[in-house]
Every structure is written in C-alpha cells, then in structure tokens.
C-alpha cells in the first residue's frame, strides 16, 4: 500500500473547499437576468380543482408569468414518470396514475404543485402566489397505509381500491408445506416508520435557455444528472437530449431523495424558455418536508418457522407499502425487488414467500431513502430472528450462528446468489469488541441504579453494487445500471477521470484518485475527478445503492487498464523494445530484464508529441473510456451490536455502546468508509429512536418542521466501535462490496432488539420515543407489581 493508494486513510481532497465555504451548490449559481420561481402548493390532501384564477396574481408587482397545469399541457409537456415496471401476481402491469408537474384538475397531497409564479424577486413571487384564487372541492383523504385499500377514497381513477400492485416473490407452496411441518412458528407485526430524508442542502434548480444556440441548461441537486437529462428529454419532453445540459455541482447530501426527477426542475427548464429568462427555484425547509420523496412506510406481518433442532425452515411475509399520492421515479422497485430478495438475510432458509401490496394514499410520494428496501427487509428478518431465539430460549447470537449460510455461492429462494462472506467471523469479532461476555454484570450494575439495560443484535446483509443491467431489465427496470468512465491523460502526465458516478458527500474526488494513484503510480494531486456535468461526462447512471465503488470505480479500473495497454505500445516504440517485453510497475514502463525504463508521465508526453512512432502504427494521445456492467450484485454484510440503558422513570433510552463489524470487501479509504458507517448508524438510530413522519387524518403533515420531526444529534449517539472483516467481492475487478447504506440498514433492528431485551417484552414500535418507551416500561413492570 502506498501513502495515497488503495487502503490508505487519505484525507478528503474536497474538504478544503467544503470546510472553508468554497463549495459551489446549485443555489450559489445566479445567472444573468435570472427570475425566481415560487410554487403554489396544495393546502389540501385531496381536492378537485374547480378553477384557478391567476388574473390578480398576473398584475402584481414584479410578476413575469403565472403558469398552471393547463400551460404545461398546452405545450405537450409530459408527466413525471416511474421508471420501473412492476407486474402483479396476475400478470397485470402496475396501475400508474397520471403525475403532472403542475396539477391538472386534482391535487392529491398537501404540498402538491398547483401553479408556479415567476417574478423578479422571490418575495414578489410569494406575494403573487397569495393572490392566486383556487376554488377547491375538498375530498376526504386516505393517509393510513394499512387502511388504504379499504378507504372510501380513490386517489387515482386507474385504481379503484388504491392498489398499485399485488406483487409476490418466492415459493408459496414450499413455504406453506414447511410451515405445516414446523415445530415452532414465531409471528410478528411491524411498522417501518415513514421518514423525511432531510439532506442538509434542500433541493434547488436553475433552468436556462439560450435562444442563440437553442440549448437548455439545468443546474440541479441531482445524484444522477444523466438520468435526469434522459427523463426530462425522452419522457417529459421539455428539451431534446442533445440540447439539454444538466449540471449537478456540489450537492449537499441526497440519501436517495435527489435521485428522482421532480416537478420543480421540470418546470424551471420549461419556464426559462417561456419567459426568456433563467428561472431559479430553491426549496425552503418547509417545502422539503412536504415535497421531497419520503422513505420507508411499510406495514408488515411476518412469520418464521423453525424445526425441532432450532433451524429456520421457512419465512412468510406480507407487506403493505405506502407509495404516496404518485409513483416517484424508482418508487415501485423499492418495496419489491430491493426488498423481498433480501429476506433471506444471512440465513440458510429453504423456503421464503413474500407478498407486497403497493398502495396509493394522499401523502407525499415515497421512494428510495438510504438503504431503500433493504433496511425494511433487515428489520423484518432481524426482529423476527431475535424474537424466535427468545421464544425458543436460545442465545440470540448462537441462534444466528446456527442458521448462518456457510457455503458460497449460495442461492436463496428469493432470487439472489450470494457470492462470498464469512458471517461467523463478523459475529465473533463483534462479540469480542462488544465485550458480550460481561454484559450480564453490566446489566446488574444498571439494575442497581434502577436502570434497564438491554443488548440487541443485527446480522444484516444488503445487495449493493446496483446492478447487472440484464438482471434488472428482466425485473422491470427501464434502464441498465452499468457505469462509465473516461481516463484522460495529459501530456504532463496528470490525469482527469470523467465518471458517471456523482459525489454528494461520498468523497469520490479522493477515493477515485486513490485508485488512479495506485494503478498508475502517480500522486493523487496529479488526478482530478470530473463528474456531475452532462457536457463533460458522456453518460452515467449516478450514485445510489452503494454502487459508486463497486460499479463506478470498476469502470475507472477498466479504463485505466486500457490506458496502461496503450502506454505499453507507446513505450515499446520509445524504448525500442517489443510490446510484449514492456512491463508496467510502480509508475514505470520498463523493458523486461533490462534497466531501461521511463516514468508514466514521460510516456504520456511521448504519446502526445508522437515523435517516436508514426500515426499509421499507433494513434497519438492517451485517453481511454470504458463501460462496466457488473455480473452480480455485491453483498456487504456484518454484525452490529447495540447496548442500551433505559431510564424507566422517563423512558429515555441511552445508547451506551455500539459495535459495528462490517465486511465491505476491499476498502479503498478506511477513514471514509468509517465515516459512512458512522453516518449510516446515525440515520438508523434516527429511524429507531427519533424520526417519524406523521400525517393527521385529514392529510396534514404534522411533523413538518424540525420542531416536531426529530433528527439525530451527536448527543444521541455513543462513540462507535467499528471493526472490519474482509472477504473480497469476486464479481468485480476491485473486490469492492460497498458501504454507503450499511449503517442505516443494520441499525434499526439492533436498537429495537436492545430495547425489547431491556424491557422483557416485544411491544415497542419505531420511533421508540421516551413516551413510547416509558409506556412500554410500565407494561414491563406490571407483572412485578402483581407479585
């Protein structure tokens, strides 16, 4: 390992600009002549729009234009799309209702887009929005996930009972047969609470149109600018693909919520041409709560069957997944193919059957949020495994070990082929770091102080490195999920890497440079990473699903291999040796068996001056591109152990210890990986203890600000004990599995398993707020009081 190569804890190159305030985010872009957009949003969860009168707003000071859904329709601007087709059990396609960027005839959630005002200033746009008169016929709303199909409310005409799909995966007959012969069946009912993503930078967009060149530019907070361009051009139709440049500059966190193509950026691009001015919109935090796609929101009943030896023999799951009022860009894939295929966990379960009903409600759209389906699956599996172990009177760690998959590759009943792993190794290491053997004495010490101590496990697995294009295509994806890279070597030997991945906090400018440094033997200071601009990078699929290491960097590695191959040809001419005798090692092209060699930079110069070879023999220059399509998902896995202490007087849960032992395969930068683990755990703890998005019966979001929606703070978290085990991923050239989502996937069941262990009963839902835990602790005390 070199000081800046693979495996080195290199400090992040991008932090200099971030921590000194020099980052450049969408809202920092102000274009000449720019006007401001403000969206009038629905105050009602469900209403027919009888009329919209914009007359008064149009003549307000500073107003340039007011547009409604009719204006978009008149310009034949299409609706927003969902890019993953799910088929129901009966073979019928999912019921996708219309999703206009500005409402046409109906609003379906509080925050839905009714009209847009374009004005000289934001304040003038807001003033004018207040002057728009909308005549609503308010309709009853449906918000409750479990009741959505029974409500006397119809969100979309295409779905009379609000069902989007009734989907299933696994083998029903084998599962039923296994349950029939089971020695023991453990049942559980779970709610996976709805979350608001809350990246620190709210969404924003600046649309611009150049009448001279007929070119459109969109600056947008996106995790995948090329996909945004494709959707905006090919499906929504605001601009031709070759005429639309999408720039996603520095982006302050996404967690999934900036994958999707929303109404606001659509309208900004379209309106820029209409009003002949650049149009800017920046979400405020209140708008973000209402209109960013939310995450999770499942209601699940699950059962686990075990035989007389304590082996798990079957799992069956029924989940109702709330998709909100409209199908967001990838929403349909999240509770289906990103969820059920993970229900085998780390366990050898011969039979699994899962049914998922996707439903519409009058709430904000729900789509991928850090982990996307996999946290929901892990919560089901790990809560159920824990409960089963308790019911069988077995140690939860040893019950897990007994059921671990140990032979690889392993084909699960839910279409996954796990390539490699050593789950027991992670468990052993975690037990040691957590000082599990002394837990009982710590529990007794807590009890002496009147406190309840508990310990909870989470043995998680995730499918990352998303994803093999053929595989996802066969499952309904509208796109392939490969990645592209271009490695441009300059005559001075410095390198620019153009990548289709997008960094919005992940540190790609550092880790990608480490790969180049490692492979080409040059300093990371000689490497620039270029991303987030469709005019610079030819195409790419973006960053989500822990894919940028496993897929994005594999594409870079492939392009680097081509650069080295070309470099060898150049070196053969310059060093006057045969190409087969040229070796490349430690940044030097050398002739085997001699001391003749030239540094990478010297060969780069030779490639460009082309004095030592003819253009007929070899093309000048040194620039190579590659597309990399993975052959399988990757399977990061690990064991997290959470230890809590509960104050039964107040219900406050304090996390005393957190142990995380993860197998991410080969690690490029352990410091960045550890940071990803920390952030992921914080978000998972947020879901377990603090965060929950709640609508009242009328469909008003009652957790619509940080006053009511509780984000995790440093004080809520302990100092994490992070360990690693490594089984290199066999399906990509770098051995990387991915680490971005692991913490958020592992954490919720670890916390709830610890709380239920402390309380001595299973009856606690997320978020386990002090009130909820206090009430549950009262319940735990009752038998004692009766004694």
């Amino acid at each position: 390992m070199t000081a800046t190569g693979i495996g080195a804890p290199v400090r992040r190159k991008e932090d200099q600009r971030f921590v000194t305030g020099q980052g450049r985010y969408v809202d920092d872009f102000n274009r000449p002549g720019q006007a401001h957009a403000y969206f009038l949003r629905s105050p009602h969860a469900h209403a027919a729009i009888r009329s919209i009168d914009t007359g008064l707003a149009m003549i307000m000071p500073g107003v340039i234009a007011v547009f409604t859904g009719d204006d978009l329709a008149a310009d034949k601007i299409g609706g927003l799309i969902c890019g993953w087709m799910i088929h129901s059990k009966d073979g019928s396609p999912m019921k996708a209702g219309p999703h206009p960027a500005l409402a046409q005839g109906k609003v379906r959630y509080v925050g839905d887009h009714v009209a847009v005002v374009i004005a000289e200033t934001l304040a003038q746009a807001k003033d004018a929005a207040e002057a728009i008169v909308v005549d609503y016929d308010v309709l009853p709303a449906v918000v409750d996930t479990a009741q959505a199909t029974k409500a006397q409310v119809q969100v979309h005409d295409v779905s009379p009972d609000n069902t989007v799909f009734n989907w299933h995966l696994g083998n029903k007959d084998e599962t039923e047969a296994a349950f029939a012969r089971a020695k023991h069946v453990t049942k559980i009912d779970l709610v996976n609470n709805r979350l608001v993503p809350n990246p620190i930078e709210p969404r924003a967009a600046v649309g611009e149109y150049d009448f001279g060149t007929d070119n459109y530019t969109l600056y947008t907070t996106s995790q995948n600018p090329h996909v945004a361009r494709l959707v905006l051009s090919a499906f929504i139709g605001v601009a031709p693909e070759h005429k639309l440049r999408v720039i996603a500059p520095d982006v302050g966190g996404g967690f999934g919520s900036k994958i999707f193509i929303y109404a606001e950026e659509t309208v900004c691009v379209w309106a820029a041409k209409k009003v002949k001015r650049p149009v800017k919109w920046t979400s405020d935090r209140s708008e973000a709560f209402l209109s960013d796609a939310h995450g999770r929101d499942h209601v699940t009943h699950a059962e686990m069957a075990t035989d007389e030896t304590g082996k798990i023999i079957a799992l069956r799951v029924h989940t109702t997944a709330n998709l909100g009022a409209y199908l967001s860009t990838f929403s349909s894939s999240v509770p289906t193919y990103l969820y059920a295929p993970l229900l085998s966990g780390q366990y050898d379960i011969p039979a699994i059957y899962c049914e998922v009903d996707g439903v519409y409600t009058n709430t904000a759209p729900v789509d991928a949020y850090r982990g996307a389906g996999r946290p929901e699956a892990t919560f089901v599996v790990e809560r159920l495994v824990e409960k089963t172990a308790r019911e069988l009177g077995q140690n939860p760690a040893e019950f897990r070990r007994k059921n671990y998959i140990t032979q690889f590759p392993h084909v699960t009943p839910v279409i996954m082929t796990y390539d490699t792993g050593d789950y027991a190794a992670s468990l052993d290491k975690a037990l040691e770091i957590a000082d599990y053997k002394n837990f009982d004495s710590r529990k007794q010490e807590s009890a002496r102080r009147g406190k309840l101590r508990g310990i909870g496990f989470s043995s998680y697995i995730e499918a990352c490195g998303i994803a093999p294009s053929q595989a996802v295509g066969s499952l309904g994806a509208g796109v392939g999920l490969w990645e592209s890279a271009e490695v441009r070597v300059n005559p001075t030997g410095s390198v620019e890497v153009l990548t289709g991945s997008h960094s919005h906090g992940q540190g790609h400018e550092t880790t990608f440079a480490q790969l180049v440094s490692d492979r080409l033997g040059i300093s990371i200071d000689q490497v620039s990473i270029v991303h987030g601009d469709t005019d610079k990078v030819q195409f790419g699929m973006g960053t989500y699903g822990s894919r940028s290491g496993a897929v994005g960097m594999s594409a870079i590695a492939k392009a680097i291999d081509k650069v080295i191959a070309k470099g060898k040809k150049v070196a053969a001419h310059v060093l006057e040796a045969s190409e087969g005798d040229i070796e490349f090692k430690d940044g030097q092209f050398g002739v085997a068996g001699t001391d003749r060699s030239m540094a990478f930079g010297e060969i780069a110069l030779q490639a460009y001056i082309a004095h030592k070879f003819s253009g007929q023999d070899l093309e000048p220059g040194l620039k190579e591109g590659a597309f990399y399509d993975p052959t399988n998902f990757t399977f990061p896995a690990g064991v997290h152990i959470c230890e809590v202490e509960i104050d039964p007087d107040t219900g406050v849960t304090k996390i005393e210890r957190w142990t995380a032992v993860d197998d991410f395969g080969v690690i490029i930068n352990p410091m960045i990986v550890e940071g990803q683990v920390h952030g992921g755990i914080a978000q998972g703890v947020g879901q377990a203890l603090l965060e929950g998005a709640f609508y009242d019966e009328s469909g008003q979001l009652i957790t619509a600000s940080f006053n009511d929606y509780c984000m995790p703070r440093a004080i809520d978290l302990p100092s994490f004990q992070v360990g690693m085990t490594v089984t290199p991923c066999p399906s990509n050239p770098l051995g990387i599995k991915g680490c971005g989502e692991a913490g958020a996937i592992a954490a919720p069941p670890a916390v709830i398993n610890a709380i239920t262990d402390a309380l001595g009963h299973e009856d606690i839902a997320m978020p386990a707020t002090p009130q909820a835990v206090w009430r549950a602790a009262q319940k735990a005390r009752m038998p004692m009081a009766a004694e």
Partner: protein, 268 residues
C-alpha cells in the same frame, strides 16, 4: 416575510412613543419567536420596534438579597453572570439550558416573559422566584402576570423594563426536553423562600405555566424529594400533543419535581 417599517429607539420613552403613534406594532427583543413567524408569513406587523439599543433595559444588579435584571439581558449574559451564579445559581443554570449558543446569545429574559410560550423556561423561573415584573407603566407580580398560553397582563404598547426578586435560600430547575425542538416538554423550577416553597411547572399545563399547589404544600412540610412521593398533578390539566400525552406529562412533572428538589437540596 412581508415588508415592514423598522424602528430602533434608544430610550424606553421613545419606544413607548412610537408604540403609541405607529399602527400594528410589534416589539423586537431577541426575535426568536417573532422572526421565524414573520419569515413563514404567519405574522406581518406593519412596524417593528427593535429594543436592542436601549441602554436602560440592560444590566444585572444585586442589592442585598434583591436581584434586578434588565429586560434585554440575553440568556448567555444571565448564564454567565458571576453575581447571579453566586446569588441564585439555579437561574444561571436555567439560562444555560435554553436553546443552543445561538439562541442564548440573541434571546432575552424580557422577550421570553412577554411571549409566555407554554414551553419556555423563564416563565417557570419567574413564578417560582416570585419575581416582580417591572414595566414602563407599573409593577406586576408574577402570579398576576402569566395568564395562559401566549397571554400576559401586558397592555398594548407596554414594555417590560426589568424583573426583580429576592433570592431564595435553595432552588433548582430541571427540565425534560422535547426530543425534537429541545423546548421543555416538562420543566420544574422549585425555590425555597423564607415564606414558603414555590414550585412552578412549564411545558406541561394545558393553560401554560402554573404553580403546583399540592407539591408546594408537601415541600413546605419537608423540603426533600421523598416528600413528593405520591403527590401528583391533575392529568386533566395537562397538555397533550404528539410528543407527550397528558398522562406522560403528569408523570414527568412528578419525576422532574423530585429531581429538582434533589438538585436544590444537594447544592453545597
């Protein structure tokens, strides 16, 4: 935010004069409630009178065991005052528990009292310390001042100039924070005065800050945490919301009161 006229008087008299002549006024102290409300366009006063440049609204004085605090003193100034830390450490500690450093360096005691937010800390301190609220027109006893959620005895245009009180022999404030907002879900201020114990509760009551009479009575007999065992506040008078229902709040009042007495009695 809607447009407004901004005024920055340098004396209480000038401020009162502006309030008497201008239409639709709001006084601006620390602004931690008013400004966010204006930004959300939920409030839009035509005239904003900023009290921050009025010297006579500042200062902390101690005369014997009587303490006087200027209305525009910031939470951080109260928290860090050497005189207050010595004379009434419970109040300095309470101020240190308000919000975060940003809030404590903008928010003021007068602003907090005038706003009477049902989950603010100062109203509990004022009731428990039996403060006299001094305005540009009169003196008002704390017991008469707080009249329900966001409601006080202040008349239109009346300006709080100071609060004044006698330091108790023992006192402490303990609060249970709303996990999200960090405001008091329940906060209890106990103070043992020469003429009796006062227990004031914020955050919990459905009608805002209140004194817990049964607790005061119990503590008058024995100023010790165990004196509160079995003493409760009425659930029916507690606030109920998504963060805490009335039963939980009532329970927490008991827990926080015992912890406050414990803190007061264990103070050296």
């Amino acid at each position: 935010m809607y447009a407004f006229e901004y005024h920055r008087p340098t004396s209480v008299k000038e401020a009162a004069g502006l309030a008497g002549t201008a239409e639709d006024i709001k006084f601006l102290a620390g602004g931690h409630t008013l400004l966010p409300t204006m930004k959300l366009r939920l409030a839009g006063p035509a005239n904003l009178i900023d009290l921050s440049q009025i010297a006579e609204l500042r200062g902390i004085e101690r005369s014997g065991d009587t303490i006087t605090i200027g209305a525009m003193m910031k939470h951080a100034e109260v928290a860090n005052s050497a005189e207050l830390k010595e004379a009434i450490p419970a109040l300095a500690e309470m101020a240190e528990l308000i919000g975060d450093p940003h809030v404590r360096n903008r928010g003021t005691i007068g602003g907090s009292i005038a706003n009477n937010d049902p989950s603010a800390d100062y109203p509990a301190a004022c009731l428990a310390l039996n403060v006299t609220i001094i305005t540009n027109q009169r003196k008002i006893a704390a017991d008469d001042f707080f009249q329900g959620i966001f409601t006080t005895a202040l008349e239109e245009g009346e300006i709080i100039t100071q609060v004044s009180f006698k330091a108790p022999s023992q006192a402490a404030y303990v609060k249970f924070r709303n996990p999200a907002s960090r405001y008091a879900l329940v906060g209890v201020f106990v103070a043992k005065h020469a003429d009796g114990v006062r227990v004031a509760v914020t955050g919990a009551g459905s009608n805002g800050v209140f004194r817990a009479a049964d607790m005061e009575q119990a503590l008058n007999g024995n100023f010790a945490a165990e004196a509160l065992n079995g003493v409760t506040v009425a659930e029916s008078e507690m606030n109920s919301d998504m963060h805490a229902d009335a039963a939980y709040r009532a329970h927490l009042v008991g827990v926080m009161a015992r912890r406050a007495v414990q803190a007061a009695t264990s103070r050296g």
